[in-house]
Point group: C2
Chain length 244, copies 2
């Protein structure tokens, strides 16, 4: 079995914490990473504050294989992600000649002001995350991947960077509908979970099409045989209770 | 001016990290806290893992006035929030007689199994967050407020607990539409931000009704006079650039 690859997401932005902007990146990245075989283990949201960004970066990049950041790489004074990442890694940061050259093709001299040049600041040693459709690039330095906060741009950047990432064997999952309330089967389910410590079993209540409380049981493991074994035990339990 | 009251949110659940469930609580709680005068400073999402929950709780509860948790207080084996909170505070946890009595009215003896009794486990010294419409209660212990993960239940719990919370003077905000791209005004906006270090100025790009790149400038401060002063400077800058 291949190595397990882990990740954290660091969302940077006052606007998420004030509630003004509703985050749409966590769920997207979470699903994406699961699909390509990277285990998302933690998410943090912090303000546009250098000390907070650096503290979170250092906590996460030492603990997980990758850290994906979103937000704070635009042209205004509150966009301090690139500079904060450079400080966290202890490397200098300056306008990247290649990005400046690309900006010169796109912007007139008057348009290419101090503000727009801010978007060309890339920490020394970083690899760009760029394409024709992405104006201001993201970048990767060490195990930290810095992306835009705007969902469509972030999604394009994730597509660019994904083929470069190490991935582990995919976490597989199967869902069994239990046709009862969570509390009806929690005791039996706990016994099944104890019998299969190498699988994860989640229990998620929902209201079904008849408006009745119902429960989805989600079995997760990397080994399909393990999932099948747990599924058999769950189905036997549900059959014994005459639920399926 | 009254004291500044801060908070963090701790979202607990494998299903958020796998992308299976899309979080809808962060944005709701963020807006709610802003409205009642509590500054949300940080959000973390962690797995259903006792060590991870306790580490995050201890980091957040020592740093902020309040910590709001969601998730992990249901009847199944993966619901370990209450036990983890008890461990973090170093207090015992047991079935709460008052909650058990309420469950006895609602459930038959057969229904009130080990699994459902799990939902009555409350750390010693905690205050319940309960009402007629909330079956399994949340609770507050110290500065930690433990709520359900299901949005409708979480929202009911937040309404119950909010009147008990200390709140500071509200963070006010005003939005000015800049009618240009972020990069057109970033330099001038940075100067205004430096001239008003006691206000927060955010710059948020959006596509306007004509599909053109546009920018909202959001000024935030507790003092309405401060907001008015920053707004005047921003409007003078935009007028000079013939944008308004």
């Amino acid at each position: 079995m291949s190595e397990i690859v882990t990740a954290a997401i660091l969302i940077i932005g006052d606007e998420i914490l004030s509630g003004r902007t509703k985050d749409r990146n966590i769920g997207y990245i979470a699903e994406y990473l699961t699909r390509i075989g990277i285990d998302l283990k933690e998410v943090r949201v912090v303000a546009d504050d250098e000390a907070d960004i650096i503290a979170a970066l250092d906590a996460l990049r030492t603990r997980y294989t990758y850290v994906f950041t979103t937000g704070g790489i635009g042209p205004t004074h509150d966009d301090i992600t690139a500079d904060s990442v450079a400080k966290a890694f202890g490397v200098p940061i300056d306008c990247h000649p290649g990005v400046v050259a690309r900006f010169r093709k796109r912007f007139s001299d008057a348009e290419l002001n101090e503000s727009r040049l801010r978007m060309t600041r890339i920490p020394a040693g970083a690899t760009l995350i760029e394409s024709e459709t992405v104006l201001a690039p993201g970048f990767q330095i060490g195990n930290v991947i810095v992306m835009a906060g705007i969902p469509s741009v972030m999604q394009a950047m994730l597509d660019i960077v994904a083929p470069r990432l190490a991935t582990g064997s995919r976490m597989l999952s199967e869902t069994v509908r239990a046709n009862c309330r969570e509390g009806d089967i929690g005791t039996q389910l706990g016994a099944i979970a104890r019998a299969h410590p190498d699988a994860m079993i989640g229990s998620y209540p929902f209201l079904d099409e008849g408006g009745r409380p119902n429960t989805n049981l989600v079995v997760r493991a990397r080994d399909p045989d393990k999932i099948a074994a747990v599924r058999r035990d769950i189905e036997a339990m549900l059959a014994q209770l005459k639920l399926i």
